[in-house]
């Protein structure tokens, strides 16, 4: 499954992604291969962070790209980038799996041994460079948030907790959690402006 039409464009060029979606809808497996090369590491990271178990995280990766393949028709570019759509699918599938497993992902995630694993940069240097650069920006943005805001965001995003559940988990008033999430998200929006749309 090799892309028969490799592009010299930036891998995250919107026009390029639009063509990829068209090819995907035309059941072009090479297009899926390209998407997989671009986003599988993010999808895998999300799944592993949420579920905490490598085997289940791998299932989520396959399930997510299977869903992308099957439901390419439902992708609406006006509602967000292709990356956003794929990551949202992955998060949703991982949270579904988590609910089934009824595990404590935070505790078990600590046990996941990722040491020694490196991004497969040798196979995809362009992807690795992109990830390395953008990841640094996102990490810096997250690190700039007050700990309370970051914690509220991570509980909601990676554990799938609602605002009420986050408030209960942290023993804080609901209004406080609303404020923390609003402040955290708006600050990230400012800081990650350069990444959105790329």
């Amino acid at each position: 499954m090799q892309d028969a039409n490799p592009s010299n464009q930036s891998p995250f060029d919107p026009a390029d992604e639009s063509k990829l979606v068209e090819r995907l809808r035309a059941r072009d497996q090479a297009a899926l291969d390209t998407l997989y090369e671009r986003y599988s590491s993010i999808v895998h990271a999300v799944a592993l962070r949420i579920i905490g178990q490598p085997a289940d995280a791998e299932d989520v990766v396959v399930d997510s790209f299977w869903q992308v393949w099957q439901q390419a028709e439902s992708y609406d570019a006006s509602r967000g980038q292709l990356r956003t759509w794929i990551v949202t699918i992955a998060r949703s599938r991982a949270l579904d799996r988590l609910r089934v497993l009824r595990r404590s992902p935070l505790a078990e995630a600590e046990e996941v041994n990722v040491a020694g694993r490196e991004v497969a940069a040798e196979d995809n240097p362009e992807q690795a460079a992109w990830l390395s650069q953008k990841s640094s920006i996102v990490r810096a943005a997250m690190a700039s948030l007050p700990r309370e805001q970051r914690q509220a965001l991570e509980l909601a995003y990676y554990l799938g907790l609602s605002q009420s559940e986050v408030a209960q988990r942290l023993g804080e008033p609901l209004g406080t959690i609303k404020t923390r999430i609003r402040l955290g998200m708006t600050k990230l929006r400012e800081q990650l402006q350069s990444l959105r749309g790329h």
Binding site: G80, E118, M142, Q163, M185, L192
Partner: protein, 273 residues
Amino acid sequence: MDAGKFTELAALYAIGALDGEELREFENYLRTASAEEQRELRELTEVSALLPLALPPSPVPPHLKARLIARINDESEEAKPSPKPAKVLEFTPRRERFSFFDWFNWQPVLTAATLLLAITSGLLLWQNSKVARERDQLAQQVAQLSQLNVASQKQLDELVSQTTKFVSLAGKEAPNANAKVFWDTTHNEWVVYIFNLPAAPADKDYQLWYITSDQQKVSAKVFGTDAKGRTELRIALPQNVAPHIAATAVTLEPKGGSPQPTSGLYLVGQVGA
């Protein structure tokens, strides 16, 4: 919704934390949200999708792509018409896993589902027939009520007509009884309503009489009453008698009536000018 409130709800929504009534209200609001609000929500959603980039590097096991391809090939093979060729996996075989759908015996379930469908269809047909019958009965009742309404309206028109005379009969032998006569002088018809006559003995009938101005008594009608002593009579007046009627009365007569009254007057009323 003001901008601050929208931003707060959009941030919670984008990260999947909005719940309860607020979630429903926000999703309803989004249907009519402005372009600016939709843009803000889209940006916040993209921000949430960037969060995973902060995670530690997570190399993907190479065999996963093979699993994905195998799954897609399986789909392609299954979509082809039979006879089905043997499946050839291009990459590493996927991990052996038991699938609920593989081992579960669907035959009894399908049989039960078919039976249930048949029963349900039969029940629905029966209910449909029943509803149709009830609908026809109701339509018949409506038609009857409509006819009754027309008759009642005609009767009311007759009663209030300027050509209708009114005669009241009072009880004599039967003090509690009374009667009302509505005389349509145009068509010379009487409509007589009688109330509270005592029950007639088995060998007797009541009889209504015209009493002319020269005191002749002409039989008008032999009748019975219901359990409460009531009845309604419609009588066409004889042309030769109508102009001479001065009074009317009711007597109790032998079964079938008499040529002339043989009892006292149970009801009597004078016909006015």
